[in-house]
């Protein structure tokens, strides 16, 4: 392929830091978990009983996927974080391939490359290969670290392959959507929001009930379960890896085929026409923000509603599989911030996870305030009689209101099925209140985001650290015997977790006020600083 080397070197140069940080973050989690196995699981017969019950617990299964050999540190670790990390590798892969292909094309840089002596498919090939190399790096580093941390060569290799090949499939997914849509943003939404998010949710449905032959068959239709189904550290089934390899090959081939069917800069569909003038609502900073955000707002609302109802349907299983084992309760507590009753624990665990997820919606809207500036749109709007204040609020208000509304809606929708089966509507109020109480965490993260947009716009990406740290704390650090204040040092750590904990107005108000203060401080910065042009 002519010009492939040059295109690959360019892609590597542009994305090396992106992959470096992702590979480090994704490769250390499993080894960090495996070293804590003996602290977590009681020795002897007791431990086996606890593990057997854990593996059968629907909440655990919904979150983590199917369990095989939990008596082995490696097998336990893969169950505890493996499927989740594999999905995260998929996220890296899709984002990476889109940033190297469609995002570059949208900014007009692929045109410069393609004008050279370069075959048309070279930029896509470079982005795909780089994504696969990134997945390979995750695979090699994870396998190496696991091998160093716990015995079992086969298990380590299977762990690496499971992570890497799950990622590889999403190289394919990202590459296909990068051909279909002319905008990188849309391609990301479809790859991550719809395909990856949907696949994780479907997997949760299939994995929750205790195994039956029908469900076992369905499990094979869940690509995110394949890594676990290869049974790392539990007599590995190597042939399973043929499945992700086949899917990757198919998707990549499809992407290259689609690439030949479209023009440079275009998607598959011819650009549509639209109204010759703005409707009455398209006026002012708020009208513009709504017009720019409406598709993603509707998408988030639908996605969250479906997820909330779906998760709610799993709660019945959580109830029926109730167990009084203190060790299990201890475990659930570690996952869900200290809740005792299993049904409440289930809702609580889901709410905590959803709080992080919906905050992402707000972070992405605030990112839009920043990208509107670097795209030169803010300059145009701010040279009209729109004040800085109004303009920034046009994005900042939905950035805060949307995730808050989504979390409250999650709290209201999740227990609806439960309430209908039990005939006890009180649970809806309880869980809605529990969701409301978690909202200051959202305000705090977005306050931090606004502070960055206002004062250090180039460093806006740092706000993702708040999300990354929260996930690291709740998935990895809780397993370590770190002091309580460390595990609580995240946006939702100090907030009261209703209904099992009593309401603490102090923590709630302090965090809410702190979040609002950061927002205000960020807006002040936005009013005082230079606005960049294109």
């Amino acid at each position: 392929m002519t010009g492939f080397t040059a295109a690959f070197r360019l892609a590597f140069r542009r994305s090396r830091m992106f992959y470096l940080w992702w590979v480090i973050a994704l490769s250390v989690t499993l080894p960090l978990t495996v070293t804590k196995y003996h602290d977590l699981v009681p020795q002897g017969q007791d431990g086996q009983v606890v593990l057997a019950q854990l593996a059968g617990n629907p909440t655990m299964r919904a979150l983590l996927g199917p369990a095989f050999d939990l008596s082995n540190p490696g097998g336990f670790t893969f169950w505890r974080v493996g499927t989740f990390m594999a999905a995260a590798v998929g996220m890296m892969a899709a984002l990476g391939v889109i940033r190297a292909t469609r995002a570059e094309e949208e900014d007009g840089r692929v045109e410069l490359v393609r004008a050279g002596a370069v075959s048309p498919a070279a930029p896509l090939a470079a982005g795909v290969l780089l994504g696969l190399v990134g997945c390979l790096a995750v695979a090699v580093v994870s396998a190496g670290l696991m091998l160093a941390a716990t015995p079992g060569v086969g298990g380590a290799v299977a762990t690496g392959l499971g992570l890497g090949l799950t990622g590889a499939m999403f190289v394919g997914v990202g590459a296909v959507f990068a051909q279909v849509f002319p905008s990188a943003r849309t391609a990301r939404v479809w790859s991550l929001g719809i395909v990856l998010g949907g696949a994780y949710l479907l997997r949760a449905f299939v994995d929750t009930p205790v195994s039956t032959p029908t469900l076992d068959a369905w499990r094979w239709a869940m690509p995110l379960d394949w890594a676990a189904l290869s049974r790392p550290y539990a007599s590995e089934r190597w042939w399973v890896f043929l499945l992700p390899i086949a899917v990757t090959a198919l998707l990549v081939a499809c992407a290259f085929w689609l690439e030949t069917k479209r023009d440079l800069g275009a998607g598959l569909r011819a650009p549509s026409q639209g109204p010759a003038g703005g409707s009455a609502s398209l006026s002012g900073a708020t009208g513009l923000a709504w017009r720019l955000l409406r598709v993603s707002i509707i998408g988030w609302a639908l996605g969250i509603a479906i997820s909330a109802l779906g998760m709610g349907s799993l709660s019945a299983a959580a109830d029926s599989a109730f167990s009084d084992q203190p060790q299990i309760l201890d475990f659930i507590r570690k996952l869900s911030g200290g809740t005792e009753g299993l049904r409440d624990a289930f809702f609580q665990a889901m709410l905590t996870i959803m709080a992080t997820v919906v905050t992402v919606a707000g972070i992405m809207i605030l990112a839009r305030l920043r990208s509107e500036e670097t795209d030169g749109h803010s300059e145009v709007m701010l040279s009209t009689s729109t004040t800085r204040w109004t303009y920034a609020l046009g994005m900042a208000v939905p950035a805060v209101v949307l995730p808050v509304a989504l979390l409250v809606a999650t709290g209201a929708l999740m227990p609806v099925l439960q309430a209908m089966t039990d005939g006890s509507p009180a649970v809806v109020g309880d869980i809605t209140r529990a969701a409301l109480v978690l909202t200051p965490g959202i305000v705090l993260v977005l306050g931090l985001g606004m502070l960055l947009v206002g004062w250090l716009p180039r460093w806006y990406g740092l706000v993702w650290v708040a999300i990354g740290w929260t996930m690291f704390v709740s998935w990895v650090l809780t397993l370590w015997n770190v002091p309580d204040w460390v595990t609580k040092l995240q946006p939702w750590g100090y907030l009261p977790h209703l209904p099992s904990e009593p309401m603490r107005w102090g923590a709630f108000s302090v965090e809410l006020v702190a979040g609002l203060a950061l927002l205000a401080l960020g807006l002040v910065g936005y009013r005082r600083r230079d606005i960049a042009g294109r």
Partner: protein, 301 residues
């Protein structure tokens, strides 16, 4: 209302260690079409952005329509319209929607004028932003700016990407605006456009105004190039204001300052010079002398 639409004095703007505007001073009286020229990176767009209150100045003062461009930004912006140098439209809004959202944000636009401009610029307003060519994006920004009745137009290379036919439409519209006493600050590299539209010109280089005046005044500041066949060169050599005297194949060429012209012509006549030609500086030479940063002290080639 003051008689100056724009008053800038000793304006300084730094980006880190780079000095973008270095004690820049310029004035644009109300109703003037003011050409703003200078090489790439000289500080034209920075000046306009300070005037728009997008950038905060580090020192000096800037006044716009009698107000402070930073503190009174939103209020002043009702009375002005801006066309950025690099127009980028919202990819999923149509051109017509972009025109309306910008116009309404300014405080409304004249529907009849909007329709007239779409017609004259031959724009299809139903296309999505990402589907427009560079020239068509430029038209959208121009229509959005020109469709409002404002006192001041800040135009940063407004015709870049336009075809000659559309450049002509643009010139006609500006001529109309001038008749209505609109002040225009026009940053441009197209000399014919500047010559045709501008009453007054300021040339910026490395963040300062190096020359400002009417085109005639600027011409007078520069040397006229002369050529003649002269027998005795000694008279010319001793005259003040004569530069670069060279004789090749019996033909003498040199440059003379504008105020040295009468004695030079007298001397040539006395020396019995034949085949005398005098070429005033062309606009192009005038600008090139300022644009070429490699020879900062040179005035005319």
């Amino acid at each position: 209302m003051t008689s100056n639409a724009i008053e800038i004095s000793d304006l300084v703007k730094r980006f880190g260690s780079t000095v973008a505007l270095d004690h820049l001073t310029m004035t644009v009286p109300t109703g003037q079409v003011h050409g703003f020229l200078g090489p790439n990176g000289a500080g034209k767009s920075t000046t306009i952005r300070v005037l728009l209150g997008l950038l905060r100045s580090d020192a000096g003062t800037a006044r716009l329509l009698g107000g402070d461009p930073w503190h009174d930004a939103a209020r002043l912006h009702r009375r002005l319209a801006y066309v950025p140098g690099d127009v980028n439209l919202w990819p999923n809004l149509t051109g017509g929607e972009a025109i309306d959202v910008i116009g309404r944000a300014r405080g409304g636009l004249d529907k009849a004028k909007r329709a007239m401009l779409i017609e004259r610029f031959d724009l299809d307003p139903t296309k999505k932003g990402r589907a427009y060519s560079k020239g068509n994006r430029q038209k959208v920004a121009l229509i959005a700016a020109l469709a409002s009745d404002v006192d001041l137009l800040l135009l940063d290379e407004p015709t870049s990407g336009l075809d000659p036919l559309m450049e002509k439409v643009f010139s006609d519209v500006i001529v109309t605006e001038r008749r209505e006493n609109t002040t225009v600050l026009l940053s441009s590299h197209i000399l014919s456009e500047v010559e045709q539209l501008c009453d007054h010109v300021s040339i910026i280089r490395e963040g300062r105004i190096v020359e400002s005046g009417t085109l005639d005044q600027l011409r007078h500041l520069h040397r006229t190039r002369l050529a003649a066949t002269v027998g005795d060169l000694s008279v010319l050599r001793s005259l003040p204001g004569v530069h670069g005297l060279v004789t090749e194949n019996g033909r003498t060429t040199f440059e003379a300052d504008d105020d040295a012209m009468p004695p030079v012509l007298a001397a040539l006549a006395r020396a019995g010079a034949t085949g005398v030609t005098a070429t005033p500086p062309s606009l192009e030479e005038l600008f090139l002398s300022h644009y070429d940063s490699r020879t900062p002290e040179r005035v005319m080639a």
